[in-house]
């Protein structure tokens, strides 16, 4: 009984465990990236299209031991490293290092194709190699169809070429190309480098230009700033110097104010002294003027007037003696003529002595004529001499008298004349004469010279007044004197 119970309990416990273990062995579940490929009993029948094996993805499947065989096909993505050397569209040698990422397609056909090729257990290495070989060939043709520029930049074209080139063969292998990348382009001829050179040089040039410009601008700004700084410094120093100069000036002024005031005071003293000296000099000059110059001038005037009177008297005298000589000469000539005539008559009488009667008459007539002529000549001569004497005497007397009268009258009026001439100086406070006493003399001479014609005029007036009552010779003598006076 106990044994039976134990057996039952054991059976109850063990049988499910055993069944579970069995199920675990029989039931196969593929992972998300795997496909379960079941071949063997019933596999052909399960597929409606007459496939030779069953493909299970996602779910699970019972696999009968011995009758069926279950294998997993990895659907993982894998990569194939590609290194190809070829020529591009322009026959430029170029090496390309790239990578292709591929996986088995998720659809049934792709899995089928892949399963028939790569399923042998751990055959991923084979798949790898196969794909790489295929892609090597394809990549070579792809490079040949592209230019280097396209290889570098034109991903669309590369993808298109990849699709065009590998499409069919990948489909044959049941593979999908997820990505085809070119990682590196090996450039044995330096083509790419040369391609970039102009642009690089351009960029470098621009960079250098920009740098130089920036440098220049910075230097300019620096220099401007330096100049401004120097200017500011200069202005500041100038201001400082100006202020210092002001300070110095004020200091000097204040230092000088003492001596300056001193000098000012001394200057005032000197000015006053100068004024005093000027006044003294003026007084002295006036004193000399009145005591020396005016008497001298009066003396000179007197002498000149006297000289003029003397000269006029001498001229009158000379004219009188000239007339006397003329008359004497005339008388002598008449006498000589008469003597000659008498001599001729005598000669004539002597020659005519031949004739007695004629001779007597002739002698008598000659004697009579001679007596008559002689008497006439004597009378004439005596009368001329008397007349000449009388004229000379009267002229002398008249001349002396008029000159004396004029001189007397002028001498009486002289102080008034000179005072009138000097009256012009009454309005002059101080007369500055540049050349001293000589200058003063000149001024006075000019004054006197101005007074001279006035005197002459006055004298002429006086003379005319006197001459109205006198004879012609006196008037003639006065006129002669006037002519010489105006000529001097």
């Amino acid at each position: 009984m106990g044994t039976a119970v134990v057996i039952v309990i054991a059976a109850v416990v063990v049988v499910p465990i055993l069944l579970g273990l069995l199920f675990k062995v029989l039931w196969r579940v593929p992972a998300a990236d795997e496909a379960l490929i079941i071949t063997g009993f019933g596999a052909r029948r399960a597929s409606p299209e007459g496939k030779v094996f069953r493909i299970v993805t996602g779910g699970g499947a019972m696999v009968l031991p011995i009758l069926q065989k279950a294998q997993y096909l990895s659907l993982k993505a894998d990569k194939a490293i590609l290194e190809v050397e070829g020529v591009d569209q322009q026959k430029i040698p170029v090496g390309v290092r790239g990578v292709a990422i591929f996986k088995v397609g998720d659809d049934e056909q792709s899995i089928t194709n892949a399963a028939t090729r790569f399923l042998e257990g751990s055959n991923r290495g084979q798949m790898h190699d196969l794909v790489r070989e295929v892609f090597h060939g394809h990549l070579r043709s792809i490079i040949g169809g592209l230019s280097v520029e396209d290889l570098i930049a034109n991903r669309n074209e590369l993808a298109q070429q990849t699709r065009d080139a590998s499409n069919d063969e990948m489909q044959k292998l049941g593979l999908v190309v997820d990505s085809m990348q070119i990682q590196e382009i090996i450039d044995p001829t330096g083509y790419i480098k040369a391609l970039g050179e102009p642009r690089a040089a351009e960029v470098k040039k621009q960079a250098r230009i920009a740098q130089a410009l920036a440098d220049r601008e910075a230097t300019e700004r620096e220099q401007e700033a330096e100049a401004l700084k120097a200017q500011a410094r200069r202005n500041s120093q100038i201001k400082q110097a100006e202020y210092q100069a002001d300070i110095d000036r004020q200091a000097a002024i204040s230092a000088q104010s003492g001596p300056l005031a001193d000098a000012e005071a001394r200057k005032s003293v000197v000015v006053q002294e100068t004024a005093v000296a000027n006044l003294v000099a003026e007084r002295e000059e006036k004193r000399l003027d009145s005591s020396v110059r005016k008497p001298a001038d009066a003396e000179a005037y007197r002498k000149r007037v006297e000289a003029e009177g003397e000269r006029a008297a001498r001229i009158e005298l000379a004219e009188a003696s000239k007339r006397e000589v003329e008359l004497k000469a005339e008388a002598a000539a008449r006498q000589t003529e008469l003597q000659a005539a008498a001599n001729a008559r005598q000669v004539e009488l002597a020659a005519a002595a031949e004739s007695k009667r004629i001779e007597q008459v002739g002698v008598a007539e000659a004697t009579a004529t001679e007596a008559t002529g002689r008497a006439d000549g004597e009378a004439i001569r005596a009368r001329g001499t008397a007349e000449a004497d009388a004229i000379a005497r009267r002229a002398e007397a008249l001349a002396a008298e008029s000159e004396a009268v004029i001189a007397q009258q002028v001498a009486e009026k002289l102080p008034e004349i000179v005072a009138a001439a000097a009256g012009a100086f009454n309005n002059v406070d101080s007369m500055t004469v540049l050349n001293g006493a000589q200058g003063v003399t000149e001024v006075m001479n000019q004054l006197i010279a101005q007074a001279g014609p006035a005197l002459d005029l006055a004298r002429g007036t006086f003379r005319n007044g006197h001459g109205n009552g006198g004879g012609g010779p006196v008037e003639a003598a006065g006129k002669a004197t006037e002519r010489e006076g105006s000529g001097s």
Binding site: D107, Q160, V176
Partner: protein
């Protein structure tokens, strides 16, 4: 959800480098089997479809080629 699901009727778009040109294969991304898969694509009318344009699969050429047509955009409707 199995491997035998057909992409016909699935919607998708043209990939960036997969513009469809007459006579050449393009590439489309199609939502299928809960994920998104890339298929080689041809235009049903033999025309061009630009990248990023919405498409719908109208025919399937196993294993990886689909015939697509452009989905009219909302403005064109």
């Amino acid at each position: 959800m199995s491997a035998s699901t057909s992409p016909i009727g699935c919607a998708g778009r043209v990939t960036a480098a997969g513009a469809i040109r007459p006579g050449r294969l393009g590439e489309v991304m199609v939502a299928i089997r809960g994920g998104v898969e890339a298929f080689l694509a041809k235009d049903a009318d033999g025309g061009s479809i630009e990248p990023y344009e919405e498409i719908v699969v109208v025919e399937y050429e196993p294993p990886r080629t689909v015939i697509v047509t452009r989905l009219p955009s909302s403005e064109e409707l």
